[in-house]
C-alpha cells in the first residue's frame, strides 16, 4: 500500500479534462519523480493530489485513508506539504516570516523546526531578515522548500523545485532533497531535468497528455530505450 497515492485521477479546471485516469504516488522515505513534456499535466496532477482541483473520478489516499474530499488546508493538517511551481514564497515578507507562515497551523514551539531548516539551508539563516522577494532564484526555492517543511510534514510535494536555477545550485538542491527523504519523509516531485531527477528517484512516472505513459523505478526508466529516446534526448 503506497503511503500517498492518487489513483486513476480524471479531471481538469472546469473545461475539458486534463488528467485521464492518471495515477501517481510515493512511499515513506522514498523519492518519486513525475516527468513529461510541457503541458503534460504534471502540475495539474500535483494539484489534484493536493486537493486544489475537483476530480471527476479517481481518488487520493494517504496512509490508506481516502482523503479525496479534504480541502488543501485539511491536507496540510494531515501532514502534507506542497511547494507549488510558481509564486511559492511570500515575496514581501522576510525569510523568517515565510518560515513562520509555513508553520501557521502549528500551535506548539516551532523554534526547533526552524533550526532544522536553517541547518538544512544555512544561507537562509544568513538572510533571515531579508524579504524573500530580494533573494536569488535558488535561494527562493530553498525558502519555498523550507516553508513547506515547517509543518513537519510526512509527505513533501515539490513542483519543479529547480526551475530556473543554475546546474550547481540544482545539484545542491537535489542533495538537500535526498537528505529530506532520508529523514523518512515521502518526497513527490515534478522535474524538468528528467535525467538527473530519475537518477535520484526510487519511482518515476512519465506523463503524456494527462496519461501515465511509463511507470517504473527511476533506474529502470533511465534504462528503458523508448523513454530515453522520447524524453531524455537519446
Amino acid at each position: 500500500m503506497t503511503y500517498l497515492a492518487g489513483e486513476m485521477m480524471t479531471g481538469g479546471y472546469g473545461g475539458a479534462d486534463i488528467l485521464h485516469e492518471c495515477s501517481i504516488g510515493v512511499d515513506r522515505g522514498e523519492i518519486a519523480v513525475v516527468v513529461g513534456p510541457n503541458g503534460a499535466g504534471k502540475s495539474t496532477a500535483m494539484k489534484a493530489v493536493f486537493g486544489m482541483l475537483g476530480l471527476r473520478t479517481g481518488r487520493v489516499t494517504l496512509d490508506g485513508e481516502d482523503i479525496t474530499s479534504l480541502k488543501p488546508q485539511e491536507r496540510v493538517l494531515q501532514g502534507m506539504g506542497f511547494v507549488p511551481q510558481n509564486q511559492n514564497v511570500f515575496t514581501t515578507m522576510t525569510v523568517e516570516e515565510n518560515l513562520e507562515m509555513g508553520a501557521f497551523i502549528r500551535r506548539d514551539d516551532i523554534s526547533l523546526t526552524m533550526k532544522q531548516v536553517y541547518a538544512l539551508f544555512p544561507v537562509l539563516h544568513e538572510k533571515r531578515r531579508q524579504p524573500a522577494g530580494e533573494l536569488s532564484g535558488g535561494q527562493r526555492q530553498q525558502v519555498a522548500v523550507g516553508r513547506a517543511l515547517m509543518t513537519q510534514p510526512q509527505v513533501l510535494m515539490l513542483d519543479e523545485p529547480t526551475a530556473g536555477v543554475s546546474p550547481i545550485v540544482m545539484d545542491e538542491l537535489f542533495d538537500r532533497i535526498i537528505e529530506v527523504a532520508k529523514t523518512g519523509i515521502a518526497v513527490l516531485m515534478v522535474e524538468q531535468n528528467a535525467r538527473q531527477a530519475l537518477e535520484i528517484a526510487d519511482r518515476g512516472f512519465v506523463l503524456v497528455q494527462g496519461r501515465n505513459a511509463y511507470t517504473d523505478s527511476g533506474v529502470a526508466l533511465l534504462a528503458n530505450p523508448e523513454v530515453r529516446k522520447a524524453f531524455l534526448g537519446g
Binding site: 493536493f50 488543501p72 488546508q73 496540510v76 493538517l77 506542497f82 507549488p84 509564486q87 511559492n88 514564497v89 511570500f90 515575496t91 514581501t92 515578507m93 516570516e97 513562520e100 507562515m101 509555513g102 501557521f104 497551523i105 522577494g133 516553508r147 509543518t151
Partner: protein
C-alpha cells in the same frame, strides 16, 4: 528676525497644524482603503460611507451622554462615544460582508464586480445614514476648544502672529499616531497580523499554509470599520459632521492611497500627509508671509495664492494624475501589506 519668526508662526498656524490634523484623518482613511484593497483586492467606494456611519453612531451616543450630563472635560465627549461608533461600524462591515461580499468572494468575482457591489453598499449605507440622522450639518465638538489660543501664544512670545492649536487637532494627531502605531505593531509582530500580510501577498500560498481566509477577511473588516470610524469622527470633530462630505473625502483618500501605492500601509500614511500638505500649501495665501519677509516697498499686492480654496479637491486630483502619469504603482510600489 522677529519678522522671520512671525512668518514661520504664520505658516505653522495655517499650514503645519491643520495639515498635521487633516493629514492624520486622510491617512487613517487611506489605511482602511488600502487594507481592504490588500486583502479583498478591490477599491471600496463605500469607504466614505463607512466613515460617515461610524461617525454618526458616535454622534448619537455623544448626544445620549451629553443628555445624561456625562462629559469628558476638557476633551470632547465624542471620544467617550467613539468605542460605540467603532462597534457600530464594525458590525455594519461584518454584516455587509456576510450578506454581500462573501458571495462574490466565493464566486471569485473580478474587481469590477466588487466595485459595483460597493456602489450598492454605498447607496444603502448613505441612505441609512440620511434616514437616521438627516442630511444636515451637525456640530459635536464640546470640551475645551483650544490647547493653545492664538492670543495666549502672542502674549507668551510677543510675536505679532498667533499659533492656535485646537483641542480637536491635538486629539486627532495623538489618536492617529497611536492607532497607526498599533496597526503596524499588529501587522508586523502578531501571528494574525503576519497571516494577513501573507494572505495579501500570495493568497494561494496562504491557503496552502493553512491560513483561514475567512478569518483574515473578518479581521480586515474589523480593522477597516475601526479605522473608518476613527477617521470619520476625527474629521467630524475637526470640521463638522455632514453626511455628503464623506463622499467627497473619497477622492483625497483614494489619492492618498494611490500616491503611496495601494495595498501598502506605510504608503497610505505618507500619501495622506502628501495630499493634506499639498492641499494646504497650494491653497494658502502667502501675502502676509511675504509681507514679513520682504522689505515694505516690495510688499506684494495680490493674495499670492496658487489656487483658490474652492479648488482644494482639485489638488488631490492633480496629485493623483501626476502619480498615474509618472509612477502608477505609487511611491512604495511592489510592497503589499
Amino acid at each position: 528676525m522677529t519678522d522671520v519668526l512671525n512668518a514661520i508662526v504664520l505658516l505653522g498656524n495655517f499650514v503645519l497644524v491643520p495639515g498635521l490634523a487633516y493629514g492624520s484623518q486622510l491617512a487613517l482613511g487611506a489605511l482602511g482603503v488600502t487594507l481592504i484593497y490588500g486583502i479583498l483586492r478591490f477599491s471600496n467606494l463605500a469607504h466614505g460611507e463607512t466613515m460617515s456611519f461610524g461617525a454618526m453612531i458616535t454622534i448619537l451616543v455623544t448626544w445620549l451622554l451629553q443628555a445624561n450630563g456625562i462629559s469628558f472635560h476638557p476633551l470632547p465627549t465624542a471620544l467617550l462615544a467613539l468605542p460605540f461608533g467603532i462597534i457600530g461600524a464594525v458590525a455594519l462591515c461584518l454584516i455587509v460582508d456576510r450578506l454581500v461580499y462573501r458571495y462574490y468572494r466565493q464566486q471569485r468575482s473580478t474587481s469590477s464586480i466588487y466595485l459595483i457591489v460597493s456602489i450598492g453598499v454605498m447607496l444603502i449605507t448613505g441612505g441609512l445614514i440620511r434616514f437616521i440622522i438627516g442630511p444636515g450639518d451637525r456640530k459635536i465638538t464640546d470640551g475645551e476648544r483650544f490647547i493653545i489660543k492664538a492670543r495666549d501664544f502672542k502674549e507668551m512670545t510677543g510675536l505679532n502672529e498667533g499659533l492656535a492649536i485646537k483641542t480637536t487637532q491635538g486629539v486627532t494627531v495623538i489618536t492617529a499616531v497611536s492607532v497607526v502605531a498599533f496597526v503596524f505593531w499588529f501587522l508586523g509582530r502578531t501571528r494574525t497580523g503576519k497571516a494577513m500580510r501573507a494572505y495579501s501577498d500570495n493568497e494561494d500560498l496562504a491557503l496552502l499554509s493553512g491560513i483561514n481566509p475567512e478569518r483574515v477577511v473578518m479581521i480586515a473588516w474589523i480593522m477597516t470599520g475601526a479605522l473608518a470610524t476613527i477617521a470619520g469622527t476625527l474629521y467630524g470633530l475637526d470640521k463638522s459632521f455632514k453626511p455628503f462630505t464623506y463622499m467627497q473625502l473619497l477622492l483625497p483618500i483614494f489619492a492618498a492611497a494611490i500616491v503611496g501605492g495601494v495595498g501598502n500601509p506605510i504608503g497610505a500614511i505618507v500619501g495622506g500627509f502628501v495630499v493634506a500638505f499639498s492641499e494646504l500649501i497650494i491653497t494658502f495665501a502667502y501675502r502676509k508671509v511675504f509681507m514679513y519677509l520682504l522689505p515694505d516697498e516690495m510688499a506684494p499686492e495680490g493674495m499670492i495664492q496658487l489656487l483658490s480654496t474652492d479648488y482644494k479637491f482639485a489638488v488631490s486630483f492633480v496629485i493623483l494624475v501626476i502619480v498615474l502619469l509618472v509612477k502608477p504603482t505609487g511611491i512604495f510600489s511592489g510592497k503589499l501589506l
